[in-house]
Protein backbone atom coordinates (compact mmCIF):
# COMPACT_ATOMS: atom_id res chain seq x y z
CA UNK A 1 0.00 0.00 0.00
CA UNK A 2 1.09 3.55 -0.67
CA UNK A 3 0.53 5.97 2.17
CA UNK A 4 1.28 9.66 1.64
CA UNK A 5 3.71 8.72 -1.15
CA UNK A 6 5.58 6.04 0.82
CA UNK A 7 5.49 2.30 0.28
CA UNK A 8 4.21 0.12 3.10
CA UNK A 9 3.78 -3.41 1.70
CA UNK A 10 0.78 -5.33 2.91
CA UNK A 11 1.33 -8.41 5.02
CA UNK A 12 3.99 -6.72 7.18
CA UNK A 13 3.67 -5.36 10.70
CA UNK A 14 4.79 -1.79 11.43
CA UNK A 15 5.87 -0.14 14.66
CA UNK A 16 5.80 3.54 15.54
CA UNK A 17 9.62 3.70 15.61
CA UNK A 18 9.61 3.26 11.80
CA UNK A 19 10.59 -0.39 11.62
CA UNK A 20 8.72 -3.24 9.97
CA UNK A 21 8.38 -6.91 10.89
CA UNK A 22 7.74 -9.95 8.72
CA UNK A 23 7.09 -13.49 9.94
CA UNK A 24 9.33 -16.12 8.36
CA UNK A 25 8.56 -19.51 9.89
CA UNK A 26 9.30 -19.22 13.59
CA UNK A 27 11.45 -16.10 13.10
CA UNK A 28 10.66 -12.41 12.70
CA UNK A 29 12.64 -10.38 10.17
CA UNK A 30 12.86 -6.64 10.71
CA UNK A 31 14.01 -3.59 8.79
CA UNK A 32 13.43 0.15 8.35
CA UNK A 33 10.34 1.55 6.63
CA UNK A 34 10.33 3.58 3.43
CA UNK A 35 9.50 6.91 5.09
CA UNK A 36 12.35 6.59 7.58
CA UNK A 37 14.95 5.57 4.99
CA UNK A 38 13.99 8.50 2.78
CA UNK A 39 14.10 10.93 5.69
CA UNK A 40 17.48 9.59 6.85
CA UNK A 41 19.13 10.02 3.46
CA UNK A 42 22.01 7.85 2.32
CA UNK A 43 22.67 5.38 5.14
CA UNK A 44 26.35 4.69 5.76
CA UNK A 45 26.40 2.57 8.92
CA UNK A 46 24.29 0.12 10.89
CA UNK A 47 25.61 -1.40 14.08
CA UNK A 48 25.36 -5.19 13.81
CA UNK A 49 25.39 -6.64 17.33
CA UNK A 50 26.46 -10.23 18.01
CA UNK A 51 23.91 -13.00 17.58
CA UNK A 52 22.46 -14.15 20.87
CA UNK A 53 21.71 -10.65 22.10
CA UNK A 54 18.43 -10.42 24.00
CA UNK A 55 16.04 -7.85 22.57
CA UNK A 56 12.99 -6.20 24.07
CA UNK A 57 10.10 -4.90 22.00
CA UNK A 58 10.29 -1.11 21.66
CA UNK A 59 13.77 -0.87 23.20
CA UNK A 60 16.78 0.35 21.23
CA UNK A 61 19.63 -2.07 20.72
CA UNK A 62 21.93 -0.54 18.12
CA UNK A 63 22.61 2.58 16.07
CA UNK A 64 22.06 3.56 12.47
CA UNK A 65 23.71 6.49 10.75
CA UNK A 66 23.42 8.41 7.50
CA UNK A 67 25.74 11.21 6.40
CA UNK A 68 23.69 13.69 8.38
CA UNK A 69 21.71 11.75 10.95
CA UNK A 70 22.27 9.27 13.77
CA UNK A 71 19.38 7.20 14.99
CA UNK A 72 18.55 4.23 17.15
CA UNK A 73 17.21 0.88 16.05
CA UNK A 74 14.31 -0.36 18.17
CA UNK A 75 13.37 -3.99 18.30
CA UNK A 76 9.97 -4.83 16.81
CA UNK A 77 9.57 -7.82 19.12
CA UNK A 78 11.14 -9.32 22.23
CA UNK A 79 13.41 -12.29 21.72
CA UNK A 80 16.88 -13.37 20.70
CA UNK A 81 18.84 -11.91 17.81
CA UNK A 82 19.67 -14.89 15.61
CA UNK A 83 20.94 -13.31 12.37
CA UNK A 84 22.09 -9.96 11.01
CA UNK A 85 22.30 -8.85 7.40
CA UNK A 86 26.07 -8.83 6.97
CA UNK A 87 25.74 -7.26 3.52
CA UNK A 88 24.96 -4.03 5.37
CA UNK A 89 28.48 -3.93 6.82
CA UNK A 90 29.97 -2.74 3.57
CA UNK A 91 26.82 -1.51 1.87
CA UNK A 92 24.44 0.02 4.40
CA UNK A 93 22.70 1.91 1.62
CA UNK A 94 20.94 -1.34 0.68
CA UNK A 95 18.44 0.00 3.19
CA UNK A 96 17.86 2.96 0.85
CA UNK A 97 17.83 0.83 -2.26
CA UNK A 98 15.50 -1.92 -1.07
CA UNK A 99 14.32 -1.39 2.49
CA UNK A 100 11.84 -4.28 2.47
CA UNK A 101 14.05 -6.72 0.58
CA UNK A 102 17.85 -6.79 0.38
CA UNK A 103 18.01 -4.07 3.01
CA UNK A 104 16.52 -6.24 5.76
CA UNK A 105 18.39 -5.76 9.03
CA UNK A 106 17.86 -8.43 11.68
CA UNK A 107 16.23 -11.81 12.31
CA UNK A 108 14.80 -12.43 15.74
CA UNK A 109 13.58 -15.58 17.45
CA UNK A 110 10.58 -14.18 19.34
CA UNK A 111 9.75 -15.02 22.93
CA UNK A 112 6.09 -14.57 22.10
CA UNK A 113 4.73 -14.11 18.59
CA UNK A 114 1.61 -12.52 20.10
CA UNK A 115 3.62 -9.34 20.63
CA UNK A 116 3.11 -8.66 16.93
CA UNK A 117 -0.43 -7.69 17.87
CA UNK A 118 1.06 -4.51 19.36
CA UNK A 119 2.16 -3.43 15.86
CA UNK A 120 0.14 -1.74 13.13
CA UNK A 121 -1.37 -3.44 10.10
CA UNK A 122 -4.56 -1.47 9.46
CA UNK A 123 -4.02 1.03 6.58
CA UNK A 124 -6.40 3.58 8.12
CA UNK A 125 -4.55 3.53 11.44
CA UNK A 126 -1.20 3.77 9.66
CA UNK A 127 -2.31 6.68 7.52
CA UNK A 128 -3.37 8.66 10.57
CA UNK A 129 -0.10 7.88 12.31
CA UNK A 130 2.05 8.75 9.28
CA UNK A 131 0.24 12.05 8.78
CA UNK A 132 1.16 12.99 12.34
CA UNK A 133 4.77 11.97 11.74
CA UNK A 134 4.96 14.01 8.56
CA UNK A 135 3.46 17.01 10.34
CA UNK A 136 6.17 16.73 13.00
CA UNK A 137 9.22 15.71 10.96
CA UNK A 138 8.45 16.79 7.39
CA UNK A 139 8.57 14.85 4.20
CA UNK A 140 11.12 13.87 1.51
Amino acid sequence: MNIEGYEFPEGLYYDKNHFWARVEGDLVVMGMNDYAQKMAGSIVYVGLPPEGKKLVQGKSFTKIESGKWLGKVFSVISGELVAVNEDLEKKAKLINEDCYGKGWMFKIKPDNMDELKNLMTDPAVMQEWLKTEIAEHGKK
Binding site: S42, V44, Y45, L48, E65, G67
Partner: protein, 368 residues
Amino acid sequence: MTNPLQFDEKRRKAITQCSRCGFCRAVCPIFDLTKRPITNARGKMILMKEVMEGKLPVTEGVAQALLRCTTCMNCTTNCPSGVDPQEVIKAARKDMVGMGFDNLFKKMGEVVEKYGNIYGEPERYDWGHKKGTAPHVLFVGCVGTYREEESVEETIRLLDLMKVDFTMIDEVCCSGVMEDVGYKIKEELAQRNIQELQKTSAKTLITTCPYCFRVFKEHPSYKNLGMEVKHITQFLKDFNFGVKTNKKVTYHDPCDLGRHAGIYDEPREIIRKIAPNFVEPRRTRENAMCCGSGGGLRGSFPEDSIEISRNRLSQIIEETGAEILLTECPSCLHNFRNAKLRKQKIEIYNITEFIAQLLQEKEKKEAA
Protein backbone atom coordinates in the same frame (compact mmCIF):
# COMPACT_ATOMS: atom_id res chain seq x y z
CA MET B 1 32.25 30.96 -14.23
CA THR B 2 35.48 30.64 -16.14
CA ASN B 3 37.58 33.10 -14.15
CA PRO B 4 40.75 31.58 -12.73
CA LEU B 5 41.18 31.43 -8.99
CA GLN B 6 43.04 34.24 -7.29
CA PHE B 7 46.51 32.98 -6.47
CA ASP B 8 48.62 34.93 -4.02
CA GLU B 9 52.40 34.70 -4.09
CA LYS B 10 52.59 32.04 -1.39
CA ARG B 11 50.17 29.76 -3.20
CA ARG B 12 51.73 30.44 -6.59
CA LYS B 13 55.11 29.47 -5.13
CA ALA B 14 53.76 26.27 -3.58
CA ILE B 15 52.13 25.19 -6.82
CA THR B 16 55.23 25.81 -8.93
CA GLN B 17 57.43 24.24 -6.25
CA CYS B 18 55.67 20.87 -6.64
CA SER B 19 58.04 18.78 -8.74
CA ARG B 20 55.27 16.28 -9.54
CA CYS B 21 57.41 13.45 -8.22
CA GLY B 22 54.33 11.65 -6.91
CA PHE B 23 55.80 10.66 -3.52
CA CYS B 24 52.49 11.85 -2.07
CA ARG B 25 50.64 9.06 -3.81
CA ALA B 26 52.01 6.48 -1.39
CA VAL B 27 50.64 8.30 1.64
CA CYS B 28 47.39 9.83 0.38
CA PRO B 29 44.42 8.00 1.93
CA ILE B 30 42.11 8.96 -0.93
CA PHE B 31 44.52 7.87 -3.65
CA ASP B 32 45.00 4.66 -1.70
CA LEU B 33 41.26 4.10 -2.00
CA THR B 34 40.49 5.35 -5.51
CA LYS B 35 43.81 4.97 -7.37
CA ARG B 36 42.75 8.03 -9.34
CA PRO B 37 45.63 10.51 -9.96
CA ILE B 38 43.39 13.54 -9.44
CA THR B 39 42.71 12.52 -5.86
CA ASN B 40 46.23 12.87 -4.50
CA ALA B 41 48.18 16.06 -3.87
CA ARG B 42 50.21 15.77 -7.05
CA GLY B 43 47.05 15.58 -9.14
CA LYS B 44 45.48 18.52 -7.36
CA MET B 45 48.63 20.63 -7.72
CA ILE B 46 48.73 19.91 -11.46
CA LEU B 47 45.05 20.80 -11.66
CA MET B 48 45.62 24.09 -9.89
CA LYS B 49 48.66 24.92 -12.00
CA GLU B 50 46.52 24.49 -15.10
CA VAL B 51 43.87 26.73 -13.59
CA MET B 52 46.49 29.26 -12.45
CA GLU B 53 47.91 29.48 -15.96
CA GLY B 54 44.45 29.87 -17.45
CA LYS B 55 44.67 26.59 -19.36
CA LEU B 56 41.73 25.06 -17.54
CA PRO B 57 38.43 26.71 -16.63
CA VAL B 58 37.21 26.61 -13.07
CA THR B 59 34.32 24.18 -13.11
CA GLU B 60 32.16 22.24 -10.72
CA GLY B 61 34.45 19.31 -11.42
CA VAL B 62 37.44 21.27 -10.10
CA ALA B 63 35.45 22.23 -7.00
CA GLN B 64 34.49 18.61 -6.39
CA ALA B 65 38.07 17.42 -6.87
CA LEU B 66 39.30 19.89 -4.26
CA LEU B 67 36.77 18.58 -1.74
CA ARG B 68 38.38 15.14 -1.93
CA CYS B 69 41.11 15.81 0.62
CA THR B 70 41.15 14.94 4.32
CA THR B 71 43.79 17.65 4.98
CA CYS B 72 45.73 14.95 6.82
CA MET B 73 49.11 16.49 5.89
CA ASN B 74 50.74 13.16 5.17
CA CYS B 75 51.67 14.51 1.71
CA THR B 76 53.21 17.57 3.36
CA THR B 77 55.34 15.42 5.65
CA ASN B 78 56.54 13.33 2.74
CA CYS B 79 57.01 16.08 0.15
CA PRO B 80 60.69 16.37 -0.85
CA SER B 81 59.99 19.82 -2.30
CA GLY B 82 58.62 21.17 0.98
CA VAL B 83 55.11 21.92 -0.33
CA ASP B 84 52.08 21.98 2.00
CA PRO B 85 49.28 21.01 -0.41
CA GLN B 86 46.45 21.04 2.15
CA GLU B 87 46.97 24.76 2.79
CA VAL B 88 46.74 25.41 -0.94
CA ILE B 89 43.66 23.22 -1.22
CA LYS B 90 41.90 24.88 1.72
CA ALA B 91 42.60 28.35 0.27
CA ALA B 92 41.34 27.25 -3.15
CA ARG B 93 38.14 25.88 -1.57
CA LYS B 94 37.52 29.36 -0.12
CA ASP B 95 38.15 31.00 -3.47
CA MET B 96 35.73 28.66 -5.17
CA VAL B 97 33.01 29.41 -2.65
CA GLY B 98 33.77 33.10 -3.22
CA MET B 99 33.22 32.53 -6.94
CA GLY B 100 29.81 31.03 -6.29
CA PHE B 101 30.66 27.32 -6.16
CA ASP B 102 28.75 26.67 -2.95
CA ASN B 103 29.24 23.19 -1.63
CA LEU B 104 27.21 21.15 0.80
CA PHE B 105 29.03 22.80 3.68
CA LYS B 106 27.04 25.97 3.08
CA LYS B 107 24.11 24.06 4.51
CA MET B 108 26.30 22.83 7.37
CA GLY B 109 27.18 26.44 8.15
CA GLU B 110 23.49 27.30 8.40
CA VAL B 111 22.91 24.29 10.61
CA VAL B 112 25.83 25.21 12.88
CA GLU B 113 24.45 28.73 13.25
CA LYS B 114 20.94 27.51 14.02
CA TYR B 115 21.69 24.57 16.32
CA GLY B 116 25.24 25.25 17.55
CA ASN B 117 26.51 21.89 16.28
CA ILE B 118 27.51 20.43 12.93
CA TYR B 119 24.79 17.77 12.91
CA GLY B 120 21.75 19.97 13.46
CA GLU B 121 20.87 18.05 16.60
CA PRO B 122 18.20 19.97 18.49
CA GLU B 123 19.12 18.63 21.92
CA ARG B 124 22.54 18.42 23.49
CA TYR B 125 23.37 15.41 25.63
CA ASP B 126 24.33 16.49 29.13
CA TRP B 127 26.37 14.14 31.26
CA GLY B 128 25.18 15.80 34.43
CA HIS B 129 28.62 16.98 35.40
CA LYS B 130 28.96 20.13 37.43
CA LYS B 131 28.92 23.52 35.73
CA GLY B 132 30.17 26.80 37.19
CA THR B 133 33.67 27.68 38.29
CA ALA B 134 36.66 25.34 38.59
CA PRO B 135 40.41 25.37 37.89
CA HIS B 136 39.87 23.36 34.72
CA VAL B 137 37.15 23.27 32.07
CA LEU B 138 36.49 20.37 29.73
CA PHE B 139 35.39 21.02 26.12
CA VAL B 140 34.02 17.99 24.31
CA GLY B 141 33.18 19.17 20.76
CA CYS B 142 30.47 18.08 18.31
CA VAL B 143 31.61 14.58 17.36
CA GLY B 144 32.11 13.50 20.96
CA THR B 145 28.85 15.04 22.12
CA TYR B 146 26.57 13.83 19.36
CA ARG B 147 28.26 10.69 18.01
CA GLU B 148 30.43 9.21 20.80
CA GLU B 149 28.67 10.34 23.95
CA GLU B 150 29.29 7.01 25.70
CA SER B 151 33.02 7.41 25.18
CA VAL B 152 32.86 10.95 26.55
CA GLU B 153 31.02 9.65 29.60
CA GLU B 154 33.97 7.38 30.34
CA THR B 155 36.44 10.25 29.85
CA ILE B 156 34.46 12.33 32.34
CA ARG B 157 34.43 9.40 34.76
CA LEU B 158 38.20 9.06 34.45
CA LEU B 159 38.76 12.74 35.27
CA ASP B 160 36.46 12.36 38.28
CA LEU B 161 38.30 9.23 39.44
CA MET B 162 41.60 11.12 39.08
CA LYS B 163 40.02 13.81 41.29
CA VAL B 164 40.44 16.53 38.68
CA ASP B 165 38.45 19.59 39.73
CA PHE B 166 36.83 20.47 36.43
CA THR B 167 33.70 22.04 35.07
CA MET B 168 31.81 21.91 31.79
CA ILE B 169 29.88 24.51 29.81
CA ASP B 170 26.88 24.53 27.50
CA GLU B 171 29.27 24.53 24.59
CA VAL B 172 28.56 25.26 20.95
CA CYS B 173 30.63 24.18 17.95
CA CYS B 174 34.08 25.79 17.90
CA SER B 175 33.23 26.14 14.18
CA GLY B 176 36.85 26.04 13.05
CA VAL B 177 35.97 23.30 10.58
CA MET B 178 34.20 25.89 8.41
CA GLU B 179 37.62 27.30 7.53
CA ASP B 180 38.69 23.95 6.07
CA VAL B 181 35.71 23.56 3.78
CA GLY B 182 35.61 26.94 2.07
CA TYR B 183 33.89 29.18 4.62
CA LYS B 184 34.76 31.23 7.68
CA ILE B 185 34.60 30.48 11.37
CA LYS B 186 31.32 31.52 12.99
CA GLU B 187 32.38 34.49 15.07
CA GLU B 188 29.16 34.54 17.07
CA LEU B 189 29.71 30.95 18.18
CA ALA B 190 33.35 31.61 18.99
CA GLN B 191 32.39 34.58 21.14
CA ARG B 192 29.70 32.53 22.88
CA ASN B 193 32.23 29.83 23.72
CA ILE B 194 34.74 32.39 24.96
CA GLN B 195 32.14 34.02 27.23
CA GLU B 196 31.00 30.69 28.66
CA LEU B 197 34.56 29.46 29.15
CA GLN B 198 35.65 32.68 30.85
CA LYS B 199 32.70 32.52 33.25
CA THR B 200 34.24 29.35 34.67
CA SER B 201 37.39 31.25 35.78
CA ALA B 202 39.33 28.17 34.70
CA LYS B 203 43.05 28.40 34.08
CA THR B 204 43.13 25.41 31.78
CA LEU B 205 40.88 24.43 28.92
CA ILE B 206 41.06 20.68 28.33
CA THR B 207 39.84 19.43 24.98
CA THR B 208 39.12 15.84 24.05
CA CYS B 209 38.96 16.67 20.34
CA PRO B 210 42.31 17.43 18.67
CA TYR B 211 40.61 19.60 16.09
CA CYS B 212 38.93 21.78 18.73
CA PHE B 213 42.33 21.89 20.45
CA ARG B 214 43.90 23.37 17.33
CA VAL B 215 41.10 25.87 16.84
CA PHE B 216 41.25 27.15 20.43
CA LYS B 217 45.03 27.27 20.31
CA GLU B 218 45.61 28.72 16.84
CA HIS B 219 42.57 30.53 15.48
CA PRO B 220 42.65 34.33 15.89
CA SER B 221 38.97 34.33 16.95
CA TYR B 222 40.01 32.60 20.19
CA LYS B 223 43.14 34.68 20.86
CA ASN B 224 41.53 36.43 23.84
CA LEU B 225 40.47 33.21 25.51
CA GLY B 226 42.80 33.87 28.42
CA MET B 227 43.49 30.32 29.52
CA GLU B 228 45.97 27.61 28.70
CA VAL B 229 44.68 25.14 26.13
CA LYS B 230 45.64 21.50 26.57
CA HIS B 231 44.65 18.38 24.75
CA ILE B 232 43.55 15.77 27.26
CA THR B 233 46.65 13.63 26.56
CA GLN B 234 48.86 16.58 27.52
CA PHE B 235 46.82 17.13 30.65
CA LEU B 236 46.91 13.50 31.79
CA LYS B 237 50.44 12.49 30.83
CA ASP B 238 51.86 12.84 34.36
CA PHE B 239 49.01 11.05 36.13
CA ASN B 240 49.40 7.60 37.62
CA PHE B 241 46.34 5.54 36.89
CA GLY B 242 47.11 2.46 38.99
CA VAL B 243 45.89 0.00 36.39
CA LYS B 244 47.49 -2.10 33.70
CA THR B 245 46.36 -4.42 30.93
CA ASN B 246 48.24 -7.42 29.63
CA LYS B 247 46.53 -7.17 26.29
CA LYS B 248 48.43 -6.22 23.17
CA VAL B 249 47.70 -2.54 22.61
CA THR B 250 48.43 -0.25 19.67
CA TYR B 251 47.85 3.42 18.93
CA HIS B 252 46.62 5.39 15.94
CA ASP B 253 47.97 8.96 15.68
CA PRO B 254 45.09 11.31 14.81
CA CYS B 255 46.24 13.68 12.05
CA ASP B 256 44.99 16.72 13.95
CA LEU B 257 46.90 15.72 17.05
CA GLY B 258 50.05 14.41 15.38
CA ARG B 259 51.03 16.04 12.12
CA HIS B 260 48.96 19.19 12.73
CA ALA B 261 49.77 19.77 16.41
CA GLY B 262 53.00 17.80 16.89
CA ILE B 263 51.63 15.80 19.82
CA TYR B 264 53.07 12.31 19.50
CA ASP B 265 54.76 11.55 22.83
CA GLU B 266 52.10 12.37 25.40
CA PRO B 267 49.60 9.70 24.28
CA ARG B 268 52.42 7.15 24.21
CA GLU B 269 53.62 8.14 27.70
CA ILE B 270 50.12 7.42 29.00
CA ILE B 271 49.74 4.16 27.09
CA ARG B 272 53.12 2.81 28.24
CA LYS B 273 52.00 3.28 31.85
CA ILE B 274 48.92 1.12 31.38
CA ALA B 275 49.96 -1.28 28.61
CA PRO B 276 53.41 -2.88 28.84
CA ASN B 277 52.54 -4.88 25.74
CA PHE B 278 52.35 -1.79 23.52
CA VAL B 279 53.21 -2.14 19.85
CA GLU B 280 53.50 0.56 17.19
CA PRO B 281 51.95 0.16 13.74
CA ARG B 282 54.50 0.23 10.92
CA ARG B 283 53.13 3.53 9.62
CA THR B 284 53.06 5.59 12.76
CA ARG B 285 53.74 9.05 14.23
CA GLU B 286 54.52 11.48 11.34
CA ASN B 287 53.85 8.71 8.83
CA ALA B 288 50.58 7.42 10.27
CA MET B 289 47.93 6.95 7.60
CA CYS B 290 44.74 9.00 8.01
CA CYS B 291 41.47 7.44 9.21
CA GLY B 292 39.58 9.34 6.52
CA SER B 293 37.38 11.53 8.70
CA GLY B 294 39.05 14.93 8.33
CA GLY B 295 38.89 17.90 5.99
CA GLY B 296 35.14 17.54 5.53
CA LEU B 297 35.47 14.15 3.80
CA ARG B 298 33.25 12.38 6.31
CA GLY B 299 30.56 14.97 5.60
CA SER B 300 30.92 15.16 1.84
CA PHE B 301 31.84 11.57 0.96
CA PRO B 302 30.89 9.46 3.99
CA GLU B 303 31.15 6.09 2.25
CA ASP B 304 34.66 6.83 1.00
CA SER B 305 35.56 8.15 4.43
CA ILE B 306 34.48 4.91 6.13
CA GLU B 307 36.20 2.82 3.47
CA ILE B 308 39.47 4.70 4.11
CA SER B 309 39.01 3.99 7.78
CA ARG B 310 38.48 0.32 6.99
CA ASN B 311 41.77 0.29 5.05
CA ARG B 312 43.65 1.93 7.92
CA LEU B 313 42.12 -0.44 10.45
CA SER B 314 43.05 -3.51 8.38
CA GLN B 315 46.57 -2.12 8.05
CA ILE B 316 46.87 -1.69 11.82
CA ILE B 317 45.54 -5.18 12.52
CA GLU B 318 47.90 -6.79 10.01
CA GLU B 319 50.91 -4.81 11.18
CA THR B 320 50.43 -5.22 14.91
CA GLY B 321 48.12 -8.12 15.70
CA ALA B 322 46.85 -5.92 18.52
CA GLU B 323 43.76 -6.73 20.56
CA ILE B 324 43.14 -3.11 21.48
CA LEU B 325 43.39 -0.05 19.25
CA LEU B 326 43.64 3.24 21.10
CA THR B 327 43.41 6.76 19.77
CA GLU B 328 42.37 10.06 21.32
CA CYS B 329 40.15 11.78 18.80
CA PRO B 330 36.35 11.44 18.63
CA SER B 331 36.38 11.59 14.82
CA CYS B 332 38.96 8.83 14.42
CA LEU B 333 37.17 6.78 17.06
CA HIS B 334 33.80 7.18 15.39
CA ASN B 335 35.10 6.40 11.91
CA PHE B 336 37.00 3.32 13.08
CA ARG B 337 33.97 2.03 14.97
CA ASN B 338 31.80 2.53 11.89
CA ALA B 339 34.41 0.79 9.73
CA LYS B 340 35.13 -2.25 11.90
CA LEU B 341 33.89 -5.52 10.46
CA ARG B 342 32.32 -8.17 12.66
CA LYS B 343 35.08 -10.64 11.87
CA GLN B 344 37.67 -8.17 13.19
CA LYS B 345 38.03 -8.86 16.89
CA ILE B 346 40.06 -5.77 17.75
CA GLU B 347 38.44 -3.41 20.28
CA ILE B 348 38.64 0.34 19.65
CA TYR B 349 38.68 3.02 22.33
CA ASN B 350 39.86 6.49 23.15
CA ILE B 351 42.75 6.19 25.61
CA THR B 352 40.81 7.92 28.38
CA GLU B 353 37.77 5.73 27.82
CA PHE B 354 39.91 2.60 27.97
CA ILE B 355 41.60 3.62 31.22
CA ALA B 356 38.23 4.39 32.80
CA GLN B 357 37.09 0.90 31.86
CA LEU B 358 40.24 -0.67 33.32
CA LEU B 359 39.59 1.20 36.55
CA GLN B 360 36.02 -0.02 36.58
CA GLU B 361 37.18 -3.64 36.11
CA LYS B 362 39.64 -3.17 38.96
CA GLU B 363 36.89 -1.79 41.21
CA LYS B 364 34.68 -4.75 40.40
CA LYS B 365 37.47 -7.24 41.17
CA GLU B 366 38.22 -5.54 44.46
CA ALA B 367 34.54 -5.51 45.42
CA ALA B 368 34.14 -9.22 44.57
